[in-house]
């Protein structure tokens, strides 16, 4: 007869049960509703809805701009985290607090503020207009908004890892003859990479689902600057619920696959960098 394994921490069954119940109500049931509602369309109908040229253009913009914004955030977020961790300067606390602002700001407010800045008659827009650079009311505006809302994710995931990074590692690397960029490339970056990928994935996920801040600045020109969430809203406004959920399903599956790929990459880098050993 085998004795049941004694656990030191109590409440495993209770917490697991609660977690599953909670996840079902909050996440799984609404998500399955999306699939069920979509199922009211036939397969060919579904295909027609999700592959109209206008919707296809919106996928390209949504996913393309989100990936690009997350990539830009990865680079500059890393730089910002570096500055915040490594240097002391007046106003550092303030900058540290500012990083979180995109989290707290209602996205519509951010959208209006960005639009006001980048519109051809805005502060920045009026400077760029003579150079024939148009940010607001086009895809570049979408990108700007997505960069804005995704910024905190990379900074906040990389910052703690960077704080733990021992400067002795860099000194060791330099004493072994490595140039500064070699130290960054071979010592610092591999250690930061898993956190950087997490930040990238979070920023990307946030950007794909973003609606409020983008909608003001995008200009929403069909085939040019319509994002996929807008397509869903448009369908909803026409009482085409099945059509709306069909597009949502495509978005969900796409996002899921992309996040899965990023997580896989992250697991691989963690293994390669010896974190779990």
């Amino acid at each position: 007869m085998s004795r049941p394994a004694a656990r030191v921490l109590p409440g495993f069954n209770l917490t697991l049960g609660y977690t599953l119940f909670y996840l079902s109500i909050i996440v799984l049931v609404p998500l399955s509703a999306v699939f069920i509602k979509t199922a009211s369309l036939g397969l060919s109908q579904f295909w027609d809805v999700v592959t109209t040229p206008r919707v296809l253009a919106s996928y390209r913009l949504s996913f393309g701009a989100s990936l690009l914004a997350a990539a830009i955030n990865a680079v500059f977020g890393l730089m910002l985290a570096w500055v915040l961790v490594r240097y002391r300067f007046p106003g550092k606390k303030l900058i540290d607090a500012l990083v979180d602002l995109p989290f707290a700001l209602p996205t519509a407010v951010a959208g209006i503020a960005l639009t006001a800045l980048y519109a051809p008659n805005g502060w920045l827009g009026s400077l760029l207009a003579p150079l024939d650079i148009k940010i607001a009311f086009g895809p570049p505006g979408v990108l700007v908004a997505l960069i804005f809302i995704g910024l905190p994710f990379v900074v906040r995931t990389v910052q703690p890892i960077l704080e733990d990074l021992d400067t002795e590692l860099e000194e060791a690397s330099a004493s072994l003859g490595a140039q500064r960029w070699q130290t960054f490339r071979h010592v610092i970056l591999p250690i930061l990479l898993p956190a950087l990928l997490t930040g990238f994935a979070l920023a990307f996920a946030r950007a794909v689902g973003e609606y409020g801040s983008v909608i003001f600045i995008a200009g929403n020109i069909p085939m040019v600057s319509e994002i996929t969430p807008l397509m869903i809203i448009t369908k909803l406004e026409q009482y085409d619920y099945a059509g709306a959920t069909a597009i949502a399903v495509v978005m969900l599956v796409f996002s899921f696959l992309l996040l899965l790929a990023i997580n896989g990459l992250q697991a691989w880098t963690e293994k390669a960098t010896g974190r779990n050993r």
Binding site: D166, L169, S173, A174, S175, H186
Partner: protein
């Protein structure tokens, strides 16, 4: 290669870490920088390595002024207290790191690198660990890998910052013997920093004693132990009993007692402080013999080869703590009891001005 430091001064804010330090490290020697924490020994080592810069003064490597060169141009091997191994690389890649970072035209082929890395791993007796990651190694193994990594670029000098400080006592003892043997094989000029006098005396050819940013004494382990130049050195290199008193003719007046000692370098009436090691104190229980400082036995620790007796001073030396080391036979013969009053008579005294 020789190392010289000349008039090095370094302050952190108001705290003077190094005050005008000048030292000469001859080629091929293993030198210990010894001192309590905060004495500036690590700062000096980091300045020699180029990881820190001095406020003033010069560092000469092989007679050439290296004060303004970057650490990567100084060709020094540096070993850190906490190893600083790259945890995302396995042992092999850690050791190969310095070779792979060389500019392309100086870089050896991967085949040569592999050969060299395996030679080094053999030298530190860990070639069977090449595929492991640092987290899978013990502290002692990590430090040996760190040493192999530092040696891979064929440094001109080897600098070790408390290399055994993070290890447990047994491994520490093993590794310092091993380091000594390694140095005898390689004869590379080496400096290591430690706060452990036993370690310094046992391993080094020469010991530099530092306190409060100054050099107190330089000498072979034998010299500094036998002839400490200052009270600090005397006190730092082992357990010590001290007697404060005044010179009177052929003795030192301590409280009511007179300790016989001839000190020609002092005048009658000079205030002095005299030191004796625990084994240099004789315990007198017989009242018919004169001399010695009265003390009361507080505690007797008689395990081990020797017996240690802790005593409290009486009369003029009230509240002072004394420690005596006796052989087991002596201890048995004296048959001391706790609370008993005895007199302590130093067989050897080292006297400094007070």
């Amino acid at each position: 290669m020789s190392i010289q430091v000349q008039n090095i001064h370094k302050a952190f804010g108001d705290f003077v870490a190094l005050g005008d330090v000048s030292l000469d490290f001859p080629t091929g020697e293993l030198v210990a920088l010894l001192g309590p924490s905060g004495c500036g020994k690590t700062t000096l080592l980091r300045i020699i390595a180029g990881l820190e810069s001095a406020d003033s003064g010069r560092v000469l490597l092989d007679g050439e002024d290296a004060s303004d060169t970057h650490v990567r141009e100084r060709h020094v091997g540096f070993v850190f207290q906490h190893y600083a191994l790259f945890r995302h690389m396995n042992v092999f890649d850690n050791v190969a790191f310095g070779l792979r970072m060389k500019p392309r035209r100086e870089r050896p082929s991967e085949q040569d690198i592999a050969g060299k890395v395996h030679d080094l791993l053999k030298l530190v007796q860990l070639d069977w660990l090449a595929d492991r990651f640092p987290a899978q190694l013990s502290g002692g193994q990590r430090q040996r890998i760190a040493l192999a990594r530092a040696l891979a670029v064929e440094p001109r000098v080897l600098l070790l910052d408390e290399p055994f400080g993070a290890l447990d006592a047994k491994v520490r003892k093993e590794l310092r013997r091993w380091l000594r043997r390694l140095h005898d094989e390689l004869h590379i000029t080496s400096i290591f920093v430690t706060h452990d006098q036993e370690e310094a005396l046992e391993v080094a050819d020469r010991v530099v004693l530092m306190d409060h940013g100054r050099v107190e004494q330089i000498g072979t382990p034998e010299e500094v132990y036998r002839q400490p130049a200052t009270p600090f050195v005397y006190g730092f290199l082992g357990a010590v009993n001290h007697f404060s008193g005044r010179l009177e003719g052929e003795g030192i007046r301590v409280g009511d007692a007179l300790l016989r000692h001839v000190a020609p370098e002092f005048k009658h009436g000079d205030d002095v402080i005299a030191f004796a090691r625990p084994h240099e104190l004789e315990v007198l229980t017989d009242d018919s013999v004169a001399g010695g400082v009265p003390a009361r036995v507080a505690r007797i620790l008689s395990f081990g080869v020797t017996a240690r007796v802790e005593l409290e001073g009486l009369n003029g030396t009230g509240n002072q703590h004394f420690e005596v080391e006796l052989s087991s036979e002596q201890a048995e013969r004296l048959a001391l009891r706790e609370g008993q009053t005895v007199r302590l008579n130093p067989s050897r005294l080292r006297v400094f001005a007070r």
